[in-house]
């Protein structure tokens, strides 16, 4: 960003709630079923039917509000947002407008070692729309209403975010909280967590906001940063070229890496909001709020502190584990199953993260159980396998889901700790490389690594490294 300018960013995040049933009817919210198999007269907007509010959705919204330090409204209500689209069967979306369930909150994020507080303007409940599916070549479009009526929370931030990196950190923190609460699975690729960004730029020191553009279709964590970065540059260029930023909605095109204009302010819908007459206002008693407060889970910040104090992990490792609830659970369960905290942490942060990333999987989809991790670490500790072999073993475990013992047995990877066998290998290696032995003896000590490598190669990596080292030193003495 050019030093003269500063970005002002606010995010509107839609989170699909993990309720079993839809927000206004009893249909299942399961993802990926046969199109229109999870529908009923209420969620497809038949004449004369009426919505009935799912209490679980209210509870989830309150939970989230408490976690984000919001004021929970004792009186709130739904409103209708009116617009025509085939995926919106009633011709209006039941949402909240004037009186949302949660307001005036904030969350804290860490950016480059500094704590930043980002305000939460409001959290409100609404129903999701269905999905339009367009036939590639034919004249038809199809409508799948399985998603219509799935409960959403819209979490609106204050325009407190100042950089694409902060936006990404904010999204990560939001996801962590939602997952800690078990109210949303936080999957941006599948659309259970969605992000629209309001972006504007202004001169440093200027008080008023610049004209903003709303970015839509940011469908992965990676793109949060990229899309905003692009948009800031675009707006600065417009201003530098003497132009004006216009208020509009822009679409992030991830393939091209650009944002493109979708509709201007003039083309914006007039949603004609008015209070939903089919639902009575929601009254929340303090007692309920207190009960929910008392049952809140441990959050990542608390967890991180605990990982440092309870397990003696370095701050950095504690950070990486605590940010995600599934990772934290995996870590603690593996420790409980006998793993040394430091080793378990390294295994998760190192090899397991690498394998999952290569597979584009999250920790929720990890194929290995905590005990399997602990068992493998035990094999290293008791000398059954070497650290080097462990990598191979672990990859195989990840691929097949088999236990470490089984993999080691099947592949014959047990470490050679028989002194006679290792000595034989060492002798052979030294005999084959007389020149190097001479050089070593002449003072080129760096060649020790070479000899170890030769022995390992000969034993297919199975020789106990410590014993190899000791024997080599003795023989070359």
């Amino acid at each position: 960003m050019s030093g003269k300018y500063e970005a002002v960013i606010g995010l509107e995040v839609h989170a699909q709630m993990l309720t079993d049933t839809k927000i206004f009817c009893g249909c299942s919210t399961k993802f990926g079923s046969e199109p229109n198999s999870q529908t009923c007269p209420v969620c497809i907007g038949m004449p004369g039917v009426l919505p009935v509010l799912n209490g679980k959705a209210v509870e989830f919204a309150i939970k989230t509000g408490i976690a984000m330090n919001c004021k929970i409204s004792s009186y709130s209500r739904f409103a209708r947002k009116n617009y025509f689209y085939p995926d919106l069967p009633k011709g209006y979306q039941i949402s909240q407008y004037e009186l949302p369930i949660c307001e005036h909150g904030h969350i804290e994020i860490m950016v480059d070692g500094d704590v930043r507080r980002i305000g939460i303007t409001r959290i409100h409940m609404e129903e999701d729309a269905g999905k339009n599916i367009h036939e590639e070549s034919g004249p038809y479009s199809f409508v799948d209403l399985n998603r219509a009526g799935v409960p959403l929370m819209e979490i609106v931030s204050e325009p407190d975010i100042r950089s694409p990196k902060e936006a990404a950190e904010y999204m990560k923190k939001l996801r962590t909280i939602l997952k800690d609460l078990d109210v949303c699975d936080g999957n941006m690729e599948q659309g259970s967590l969605r992000c629209d960004a309001n972006v504007s730029v202004r001169h440093v020191g200027q008080k008023e906001f610049g004209t903003r553009a709303e970015l839509k279709n940011i469908n992965s964590f990676r793109f949060v940063e990229k899309a905003i970065e692009y948009e800031i540059k675009r707006q600065i260029k417009v201003l530098e070229d003497g132009g004006k930023v216009i208020q509009e909605t822009r679409l992030w095109d991830s393939a091209a890496g650009v944002t493109i204009s979708m509709r201007s302010k003039e083309e914006a819908h007039d949603y004609r909001y008015f209070p939903e007459p089919d639902l009575v206002p929601i009254t929340v008693e303090q007692k309920w709020i207190d009960e929910i407060k008392a049952s809140q889970p441990e959050f990542s910040d608390e967890r991180r502190e605990r990982f440092v104090s309870e397990y003696g992990l370095p701050q950095y490792n504690a950070d990486q584990l605590a940010i995600d609830r599934s990772t934290s659970v995996l870590f603690e369960e593996a420790v409980k199953a006998g793993g040394t905290p430091k080793d378990v942490a390294n295994l998760i942060i190192g090899e397991l993260t690498r394998l999952l990333n290569e597979d584009s999987k999250t920790f929720d989809e990890c194929p290995l159980r905590p005990k399997q991790l602990a068992d493998m670490l035990r094999l290293i500790e008791n000398g059954t396998i070497s650290g080097k072999i462990a990598k191979t073993v672990f990859e195989e475990m990840y691929k097949t889901g088999k236990d470490a013992d089984t993999v080691v047995k099947e592949k014959g990877l047990v470490q050679i700790s028989d002194e006679g066998a290792i000595e034989k290998a060492v002798d052979e290696a030294l005999a084959k490389n007389r020149n190097e032995v001479e050089r070593y003896k002449a003072g080129d000590e760096k060649l020790m690594g070479f000899f170890v490598g030769q022995v390992m190669k000969a034993t297919k990596g199975k020789a106990n490294p410590q014993m190899v080292n000791e024997l080599l030193k003795k023989k070359l003495g």
């Binding site: 007269p41 038949m46 004369g48 009935v52 025509f84 004609r272 008015f274 007459p277 089919d278 009575v280």
Partner: protein, 494 residues
């Protein structure tokens, strides 16, 4: 069994719910015989009256078999074997539910409204679905997308509306009782114009689940019957909290029949001066004033009450009701069910074709009014102002009910008007509901009962308004009045 002569002279379709209950339970008659007389009557007069959109004769005789079995095994319920007509904006599973609109001409709901489900539990027999102004928007049934229903007292005249089909069917003895819906007077005004009893319960007393919405915060279902007793019986059958309708009240439902026959000595009846306006029909004015005198002679005490914001009710109503309607009717887009227009090059055209061809003029007018009232920049001046007026009107009633137990007014400023007389002047038509609209805005219950006739032999209706959930008291007052007069016994000479 009734003797042969008795059966031949007695037309069962002319009886009331309570009379038929007695005869059926005594096994003097069979449900099928009642049906025979009802359908014979329909065959004889329906050409003139045109009360029905759909007649469900086959399923009615099926239902009659079950009713007969229930009676023979002494397991009858409140309405076992009683033929009832239902306004065609209440969903009946597998049976055409059109709202008198081309938009839903082919719509058969895969679900049952709560009211008809409750009637079914009471083993009623559905005779057919009655005509209305399209989507219940109108005061004459002239806005029906199919045909205009005629007033059985004078087929040149309208039956009122929007529940004109139900009121005419009851008045013409084409059924025993009927259900209507009332958003601004749509049960009471046609009941008045057809000389029958129409009750709009408290908002929330009867479930709206399955009632095709016109204005959700005002709509309420209620009975149209030949007398007050039947009104109480029908209300008993349909009232009560419904988990499928969040706006239905968890209030306790008394047996409304228990209120009937109690004397009304000391009952304070309020007569609001704002309801006796210039331009009101002289016969209506006279009839309502003498009805008040009659109540006084029965021991009621007249008190003066004022409903000062009455003059703003029609304006507020036409903002709020149309605003809600504009949203409620958005689902009719030609995509999922109902009418789909041919052609259309893109999505917008598909929508526009379906909605311009599927809806009638009055429905379109109200959608446009409501869309306008909710638009950005106009919301405060219209919708919000309308809500504020609504609050004032509620307060008017709260204050009046500190003085009076029941408020007595005319139901309609005029008796039945001629077909075509007001249909070209929407504002005149809207004023037909000037005395009924405030009741919906306030959410209170009100009943219309016959209280006289004009010199042209057209019925006049008396409206009695009660406190929230105090249907019992207005039924009691209405019954006392009815029992001391003979208006309700008169029948049109069709």
């Amino acid at each position: 069994m009734l003797n042969a002569i008795g059966r031949n002279t007695l037309k069962l379709n002319e009886l009331t719910v309570s009379e038929l209950r007695r005869l059926l339970d005594n096994r003097g008659i069979k449900p099928q015989e009642v049906l025979d007389d009802v359908y014979n009557r329909i065959d004889a007069v329906e050409d003139k009256v045109k009360a029905y959109i759909t007649i469900t004769k086959d399923s009615a005789y099926e239902m009659a078999k079950d009713a007969e079995q229930a009676i023979l095994s002494n397991k009858q319920s409140l309405l076992t074997g009683i033929p009832v007509a239902v306004k065609d904006n209440m969903c009946t599973k597998g049976i055409s539910t059109t709202c008198a609109s081309k938009m839903l001409h082919n719509f058969k709901p895969p679900y049952e409204s709560t009211v008809t489900a409750r009637l079914k539990e009471q083993e009623y027999i559905l005779i057919g679905k009655t005509n209305l102004d399209e989507f219940a928007m109108g005061s004459s049934t002239e806005n029906s997308g199919f045909h205009t229903t005629r007033n059985p007292w004078d087929p040149e005249r309208v039956p009122g509306g929007s529940s004109g089909g139900s009121a005419a069917a009851v008045a013409a003895d084409e059924c025993i009782a009927a259900l209507g819906s009332d958003t601004g007077g749509s049960i009471r005004q046609p009941a008045a114009l057809c000389g029958v009893v129409g009750l709009k319960p408290t908002y929330g007393r009867v479930s709206r689940y399955g009632l095709v919405a016109f204005a959700s915060s005002l709509d309420q279902i209620g009975p149209i019957t030949k007398n007050v007793m039947d009104s109480a019986i029908m209300l008993n059958a349909v009232a009560g909290h419904d988990p499928l309708d969040s706006t239905s009240a968890p209030a306790e439902v008394p047996d409304f029949a228990n209120f009937l026959g109690q004397d009304i000595k000391g009952l304070k009846i309020g007569i609001p001066k704002e309801y006796f306006i210039e331009g009101m029909d002289k016969y209506v004015d006279d009839a309502v004033r003498s009805a008040a005198k009659k109540l006084e002679s029965l021991g009621a005490i007249p008190v003066e009450v004022s409903l000062p914001h009455t003059g703003y009710a029609v304006a507020a109503y036409y903002i709020l009701a149309t605003s809600e309607a504009s949203s409620n009717l958005a689902r009719y887009d030609g995509v999922k069910y109902g009418f789909r227009a041919q052609g259309g090059k893109d999505l917008l055209e598909i929508y526009m074709n379906a909605r311009s061809q599927g809806f009638g003029a009055e429905v379109k007018r109200r959608i446009m009014l409501g869309t306008y009232a909710l638009s950005a920049g106009y919301y405060d001046a219209y919708y919000k102002k309308g809500q504020q007026v609504r609050t004032l009107i509620k307060q008017d009633f709260d204050n009046a009910f500190k003085e009076a137990d029941v408020i007595v007014t005319p139901t309609s400023p005029t008796p039945a008007f001629k077909v075509g007389e007001k249909s070209t002047d929407p504002l005149q038509m809207y004023l037909s509901d000037i005395f009924t609209i405030s009741v919906n805005l306030a959410g209170v219950p009100a009943i219309s009962i016959p209280c006289g006739f004009t010199k042209n032999n057209l019925p006049i209706g008396l409206q009695m308004i009660g406190r929230h959930f105090d249907e019992g008291l207005i039924l009691k007052a209405a019954y006392a009045y009815e029992q001391s007069t003979e208006w309700h016994t008169r029948r049109p000479a069709l």
